[in-house]
């Protein structure tokens, strides 16, 4: 619980709050990228170099771009602007969010004594990740690859407009 953890958490919370409370949709997407970067920095602070850098590469470099493209291409230019950020059913939303947080907190706190002290955790190198992926977790890896390929093909098929008549 060092000072950098608090700073990074504040950054992430600011990014997340901005993502839900800003009025302009593209501003929300950019604020979400700040939250992603904060998460990547938290990974780096925990010495998980591969996870942190892959987080930046994948989330900020691809997912954030995808989100802004989706916002851009599905709205006309006049609609991008103000929208009401507080919904009318905010009380139910608050109760649900509190319930989810309670479940997650209970799960984390219950399993916390099982893990050793932070100083005893071995540093995970990229080589160990690679060996684990190719050794113990090779079946989940292949299944995820198949799933991603299916999603890609499905997205192209769903999005492409089939023209009847002339090509």
């Amino acid at each position: 619980m060092s000072i950098s953890f608090y700073i990074l958490s504040a950054l992430m919370l600011a990014g997340g709050l901005g993502a839900v409370m800003l009025r302009n949709a593209v501003h929300c997407a950019l604020s979400l990228s700040v939250a992603f970067t904060g998460l990547a920095l938290l990974f780096l602070q925990l010495d998980a170099q591969f996870a942190g850098l892959a987080q930046i590469l994948v989330y900020v470099g691809a997912v954030a771009i995808l989100v802004v493209f989706a916002i851009l291409l599905t709205r006309t230019s006049e609609e991008i602007g103000e929208s009401n950020v507080f919904s009318r059913t905010w009380l139910i939303g608050l109760i649900l969010a509190a319930a989810v947080f309670a479940v997650l907190g209970w799960a984390v706190l219950r399993t916390a004594p099982m893990f050793p002290q932070p100083s005893a955790a071995p540093p995970v190198t990229v080589q160990e990740i690679g060996s684990a992926l190719m050794g113990r977790y090779v079946l989940p890896l292949e299944i995820v690859a198949l799933l991603l390929t299916a999603a890609l093909i499905g997205a192209v098929i769903v999005a492409t407009h089939e023209k009847e008549g002339a090509k």
């Binding site: 593209v26 501003h27 990228s33 850098l53 900020v60 470099g61 802004v68 851009l72 190198t125 999005a159």
Partner: protein, 391 residues
């Protein structure tokens, strides 16, 4: 004496830091190295703008800038004064915060890419175990800043240019990463210092640079193509082509912000050339073993400037690719070759050292190039161009 010259910057930094109390020495050393990088690469950028304009001018049968100083050498000074004194025009309906942050983000992210390049023996700012991944993570963040620049200007040309640029950069980033994976497979590490040290061995006086291997040559060619596309250089500069899109995603930027974008683009060129040098051309190692007495940083910067000269040469020579040609080229030609190159690298590694692997891998490399050239260059029918859009 040559050992001292090789380590002269390290010795200089240690001597300057020596005046401080010992608790402050390590941070102060890092700060000094950062200042050196921030000072050196913009100076090289200034030199490169003159080189480029004179070089392009001579290739286009005209003189380049020749009024400011002898042979136009003081042109960057004139450009800098112009950029600093121009009025900073922000369009009325533009998104002011995002418009302001876009060039800032670009320059910050590009400077951070320099942190992991080994510029000489023991001369890397941060020796990360996953240094290559860090570099690519920083490269991926530049796409976001280009998109921010294009969108915040509320200008159709800017938005079109930004979207083209982002599509191009995402497509070629896959090629960039996969061609570097071949190097990582052979060197066995993501750390850039280890990759350079793996290439620093000599046999019969010739170096073991990865470009001199069949898979390395193919990977270097693909890396060079992807590097030109990542930095939006001709022949891939449709997003910023002057005759196509006014000025693409930096149409609405004037004065110092435009200078920052320009700086960011050229620094991106430097850093990607630096990475290409580290991965394929042996980083700071000398071309022949008897030239090992020359300081290592001289070799690194010579190779980077050579790559920059090749960039400028290609800019003056090749015509611009159209957007659909560019994307076709990436997905249908370069990417399959890069994937096949991974297979060739694996075969190279597992056949073990000796003569057979040279024959097999050279045959495979030439074969895939010929096959892809035949299938890719074949045109089905010359009818009116037809498009399929995604809704």
């Amino acid at each position: 004496m040559m050992q001292t010259l090789d380590r002269i910057f390290i010795l200089l930094r240690d001597w300057l830091v020596h005046f401080l109390p010992s608790a402050w020495r390590a941070p102060a050393g890092t700060v000094l190295s950062v200042i050196a990088i921030i000072g050196l690469f913009p100076a090289l950028f200034a030199l490169t703008t003159v080189l480029e304009r004179k070089g392009l001018g001579r290739m286009q049968n005209r003189l380049g800038p020749n009024r400011t100083g002898p042979l136009g050498i003081l042109q960057p000074v004139a450009d800098g004064i112009k950029a600093l004194t121009k009025e900073d025009v922000v369009p009325f309906r533009a998104d002011a915060i995002v418009h302001f942050l876009a060039p800032l983000l670009l320059v910050v992210v590009v400077f951070m890419g320099f942190a992991v390049l080994p510029m000489g023996r023991n001369m890397v700012l941060v020796d990360m175990d996953a240094g290559l991944l860090f570099f690519f993570a920083m490269g991926a963040s530049t796409e976001l800043s280009i998109f921010m620049a294009g969108w915040s200007s509320r200008n159709k040309y800017s938005l079109l240019g930004a979207m083209r640029a982002v599509a191009q950069m995402i497509s070629y980033e896959i090629v960039l990463l996969l061609s570097s994976v071949a190097v990582v497979m052979t060197a066995g590490s993501l750390s850039l210092t280890k990759i350079v040290e793996a290439q620093n061995t000599y046999s019969f006086g010739l170096p073991h640079w990865y470009i001199f291997t069949p898979w390395g040559l193919l990977a270097f060619a693909m890396y060079a193509i992807a590097a030109m596309a990542e930095t939006n250089r001709t022949p891939f500069d449709l997003p910023e082509g002057e005759s196509e899109l006014v000025a693409g995603y930096f149409t609405e930027y004037s004065g110092f912000k435009f200078a920052l974008f320009f700086l960011g683009e050229y620094l991106g060129m430097f850093s990607i050339s630096g990475l290409g040098t580290t991965l394929f051309l042996g980083g700071w190692s000398a071309p022949f073993s008897f030239l090992g007495w020359v300081p290592s940083w001289i070799w690194f910067f010579s190779k980077v400037m050579l790559s920059i000269c090749v960039f400028i040469w290609l800019r003056g020579t090749l015509p611009r690719l159209r957007q659909d040609q560019l994307m076709n080229f990436a997905w249908k030609f370069v990417l399959p070759i890069t994937l096949f190159n991974l297979l060739v690298t694996a075969i190279w590694r597992f056949l073990g050292p000796g003569w057979p692997r040279w024959f097999v891998c050279t045959a495979l490399v030439v074969g895939i190039y010929v096959v892809m050239g035949e299938t890719g260059m074949r045109r089905g029918k010359f009818g009116p161009r037809s498009y399929r859009y995604a809704e």
